[in-house]
Symmetry: C2
Subunit: 270 residues, 2 copies
């Protein structure tokens, strides 16, 4: 059977959560996938340098590393400096930052947001010298309290624009921004700040905790192609990462999920 | 025991979901509460005119009626015209509108939003002649797909501002708007458009379906007093409705929940 080439498709390894890293790499090579988005925990488990070598030897491009951020937790500075170094070792130009939620017991969301801006300012020089772009990812507002106080692309850009585009950028993740009536204007505003573009789909009902209820591209209600065309029109020419947090998807075999991700990308995004 | 007067406090009857209407009314009178927010279903069950008479005879003000809207479902026009008449019969100046989500299988969120604006335009003349304000309520973006395509106060105002302030206004519900970094600017913009102000609190983890995970004022992370001061500064002098959708709160006796609502309002909102 002839399969169309997956083009800009990149597999974010979170989509195949329980697939061992070596199998993910082999699976991508077998499927003709050129890009892979990695997570720090499975990379550390495999061994950072060993993982970097394996991925490079396989001919894969590491499209992003998830993730730094969580600036309201203790030890954030050292952890984020390490994350920048890990991204450089893996050869990826993009470190995804998820800001973190409110500190326990706090109601001060403005304060938490200022802290994100301050933290990015502290990290920027090290990122610049490492050649890694800090990519601020706004998460859906349902995560504002406990996971990410940056809730819109506009907010992410308000911070990113204080820095050089190559040093601080933004992640456009369709799942987190699709509902925003200003998203197309903000994507146009973002332009060269767009460091990464991620897709999955929105389905209801949301599960308890709301984290693991996402769907493969095409299985929900997001205008994925329209968003992809918008980031392209803004000048983005990089990879399109399929990143799906889903207990249902995670229960399926890795290879099957990879093929379904490529198919969903080709049919609903490309 | 001497209890402070509840002032602008109004009990939205959804907070005491399983308390029969006659008991809610008697409970409010006994607690010195002057305002009550009603829902169409329990009112219809009790009998519209009978409910209107009971509430009036008890000396209570009906601060709002929930709800019209759901403009993507069949029969929305007739249903909303009836809702306007019901509000007039109950003597409340405010009909809360929840826009509705995407039609089944649709990805066209812009189209659904245009439909909301068109529907409000169709209903406005009848509302004006009935003396009822159509109060567009933005719901949290986690409901955009299946419950309400109007996700921000800014969007609600974009529609409301096409009409006279007494005819179309907005609801500011703290639970739905607290995460928005533009909310204080939008509240100032809203001014006399603010037809209702509702409060409850945000807690995590969200339950499956995300509808029934709200908390009594003070039990979560929302800056409720700051939001109340902002609507006041915008010129709002109306009631503050405590409206809590929560399976935990709903499992408690109505009288206890009413007293806890008043206490939470006095301590964290007033």
């Amino acid at each position: 059977m002839s399969v169309p080439p997956p083009g800009r498709f990149s597999l974010n390894q979170a989509t195949t959560q329980h697939w061992p890293l070596a199998d993910v790499v082999a699976g991508c090579v077998a499927a003709g996938v050129a890009g892979i988005g990695l997570w720090r925990e499975p990379v550390a488990e495999y061994g950072l340098r060993r993982a970097a070598t394996m991925v490079r030897d396989a001919g894969l491009t590491v499209t992003s590393l998830c993730r730094g951020g969580f600036f309201t937790t203790e030890g954030w500075r050292e952890d984020n400096l390490r994350a920048i170094d890990e991204a450089a070792t893996l050869g990826t130009p993009v470190l995804v930052l998820v800001a973190g939620g409110l500190p326990p017991g706090s109601r001060d969301i403005d304060g938490a947001r200022r802290r994100v801006a301050d933290a990015v300012a502290e990290l920027a020089p090290h990122a610049a010298s490492a050649g890694v772009t800090l990519a601020i990812e706004p998460l859906h507002p349902m995560f504002s309290a406990d996971r990410c106080v940056i809730a819109t692309l506009g907010q992410a850009l308000d911070i990113a624009e204080r820095f050089e585009p190559g040093v601080v950028g933004v992640v456009v993740d369709a799942y987190h921004v699709w509902w925003d009536d200003t998203v197309y204007a903000q994507i146009a505003r973002a332009g060269a700040r767009i460091a990464a573009f991620q897709v999955c789909d929105w389905v209801t009902p949301l599960p308890e905790g709301v984290l693991l209820g996402r769907a493969l591209p095409g299985d929900g209600c997001i205008e994925l192609r329209r968003l992809r065309e918008a980031v392209d029109a803004a000048g983005y020419t990089g990879p399109v990462e399929v990143e799906v947090f889903s207990s249902e998807v995670w229960a399926r075999p890795g290879r099957e999920v990879l093929h379904a991700s490529v198919a969903g990308y080709l049919r609903h995004v490309a």
